[in-house]
Amino acid sequence: MWFLDHAWLVPLIPAVSFAVILLFGKRMPRQGAEVGITAVAASFVLACGTLVQWIQYVNDHNGGGGALGALGRSIGRLGAEGGEAQVLPVVHHLTWFENAGVKLGVGIQIDGLAVIVMFVVTLVSLLVHVYSYEYMRGDTRFTHYYASLSLFTASMLLLVVADNTLQMLVGWELVGLCSFMLIGHWWEEKPNSDAAVKAFLTTRTGDIGLLVGVAMTYWMVDSATGHGSFNILAVNQAAANPSVSHTLVMWTALALLLAIIGKSGQFPLHTWLPDAMAGPTPVSALIHAATMVVAGVYLGARLYPVFWYGLSIGTPGHGGLNAMAVIGGITVIIGAALAFVQDDIKKVLAYSTISQLGYMVMALGVGAWTAAVFHLFTHAFFKADLFLGAGSVSHSGSHHSFDMKKDMGGLRKYMPQTFWTFIIGSLALAGIFPLAGFWSKDEILVNAGHNGYKAFLVIGAVGAFLTAAYMTRCVYLTFFGEYRGSVAHEIAEVHEAEALAEGDELIEHHLAEEQDPHFVPGFGHADDHGDAPHESNWILTAPLWVLSFLAIFAGFLNIPHSEKFEEWFQPRFGFVDVHVAKFNVIVAVVSVLIALFGVALAYGYYWKGLGPQRLSERNRLAHAGKHFLVMKYYLDVLYTDIIVGSIKGPIANAAYWVNQHLIDNVLNDAGRTAVRAGRITYDYIDQRGVDGVVNGLATVTGESGGAVRRVQTGRLQFYALLLVLAVGVFALALWIFT
């Protein structure tokens, strides 16, 4: 139980590391990287200890461990559904401050959800810390980069272990801040700092929902028990309490849903996430794929009873729709569709992340809690794998460009390790049996169907098809075909036979490259430039292999007829009664076939040149459709030009008018009045009043001094006489008055 009780150490260690790196990092031999890596490694070890002890803790409640026990349990569970032993979360907290009798605390609530997300966060963070050591080598703000990574890890873990919604809010805002700092890490270039500001402001729009929602959780508990609290267990119990008004629970759920939409890149606030790719690639892997963006999903999972009762998830009437599932479903499709028209490999992955986050939110919306958290778990590994793979490609293969069409292609030959790990990540993402993504995605589909949300079963299947197809396109453009990078002609000279046929075209590409505005000469590591693409060194590939390993095997944690993930990590105290559907062979086979169909279609289109090539250039309708996608559904136009623009013009003009006419007048009048008042003060008060008093005092003192000075004869006996007379007078006075 030591690890469970001391889980607060897990966020504390990176927090200390942040301070140490910030203060002393620059003077250290490795510029602070060693502190960051060591600290997060320590956190990872503690998180593993917590995970193991939690599993033991759950097994103890199940009455014994071991294979026989597990067999007995599964039989017992078939017999008595819902009759499992309650497993209380481990909660510790202390009072942070107290006001008007309301205690606000900080604390930890360790349960299955917390330990599994803690494990994911610390593991991916550790790998990204190691990876960044090579990737960011020589960066001007290397130390600050590591400090921000440490702060991010600490904040994310603070959010994860939180036992009250207020503490979650603090962690939530801190990860947003770190995201802002790291997206804008190379802020010297305008697009990067714009992207950072956009990410910050867009997620902040959702954070309004979180602020309102957190305040409402307090009143929900107040209405259930008579004294308010932010405690998560209390909030979840209040949501289930029939005496709490359903309207209150519903609005709380909707406010928190807005927060999820902002943070987890859901439609229609997803627009910040692709722009966030302006940050360093390891940051995209850690923050914008594996951890921070799932904070929204985590919030949904943590306060699931609020959504369950507030949005009536358990009783899908009215055609099986609720706000959460609809938002998730829309996001699955629009994210996947946008991934098709991106040339930037990181943006493909960003839209893929949006789409996968849509799956998780949709899963929460259709009542598939376990499937959502399971998908969060597996997605973290294969998406981080893909992002780090993209980073490896740009680091060693394409001269820090992420443009698949201009600077990549044919890298399979030069970067075999990156290629294979990327393939594994792609297959896992596409949901091909038996990789991790298959198990989690399948579980979402099965549960959507089982819980009566048939429409979302179809949406999920369409999403799986699109995912498989766009990942095939991405792999094709990056690793197959001919190399199209800036040194292509040099390689072409080596391969003269091929060069004779294609030389002109390649040189054309090379010229185009130099005119490309995104191409920044000398950016990053000059030593790599001019080299042929080559494999990255082991510091970059080792994390890729670790993540690939998990992308293959993580899914087996919840394979049918064992369901360890569900057993260990699904809450069994103060939780809603979610029915977990059994594995369905038909759904599984169909979803794999759909994914394979997507792969095959894309394979035929890109490799074999089958199907209508260049359709968008010939067909007006297809062109319009593509343009609509390239313009990202005009959402950015809607936000920046229409909403912000219309507010900006009139309000700015009104503000200017108010400034010129009202505020300036007031200020000018105030100024003139002040001058006049000052003159009067000088003439009357200062010159006559104050100076008069001072001069008068001096005159009185001088004249009285002149009068008294005659007493000072200098003759000792005269003084003595005065003394005696004075004593005589006092004695007389004493005698008279007593």
């Binding site: 000075r709 005659r710 007493v711 000072q712 004869t713 200098g714 003759r715 000792l716 006996q717 003595a720 006489l721 005696v724």
Partner: protein, 105 residues
């Protein structure tokens, strides 16, 4: 014996002292007059100590102890006073108090 008799003696000594301080020109005589005033106070202290306590009360000696302190301090005071007088004489070549009027305002 009455307390008044001792108090009259003290008052007489004190007035003599004051008269000496106010009228004598010579600094040494003024110092001697001050000694007379201190002696008057000692008489009063001893008299009050003796008359205000019962014969067996140990507090009876308090007045006498006080007088001993006054004698000691008077000796020290005379020491300082004679030293000042000596310095005045050295600087002004006179022990006449009327000549020592440098404090005149």
């Amino acid at each position: 014996m009455l307390l008044n008799q001792f108090l009259f003696l003290g008052a007489f000594l004190f007035c003599t002292g004051i008269f000496g301080v106010l009228t004598r020109k010579n600094a040494v005589l003024v110092l001697m007059s001050i000694e007379l005033m201190l002696a008057a106070v000692n008489v009063n202290l001893v008299a009050f100590g003796a008359f205000h306590n019962a014969p067996t009360d140990p507090a009876r000696v308090v007045g006498q102890v006080f007088a001993l302190f006054v004698l000691t301090i008077a000796a020290a005071e005379v020491g300082v006073g004679l030293a000042i007088v000596l310095l005045i004489y050295r600087n002004l070549h006179s022990a006449d108090l009327d000549d020592a009027d440098t404090l005149k305002g």
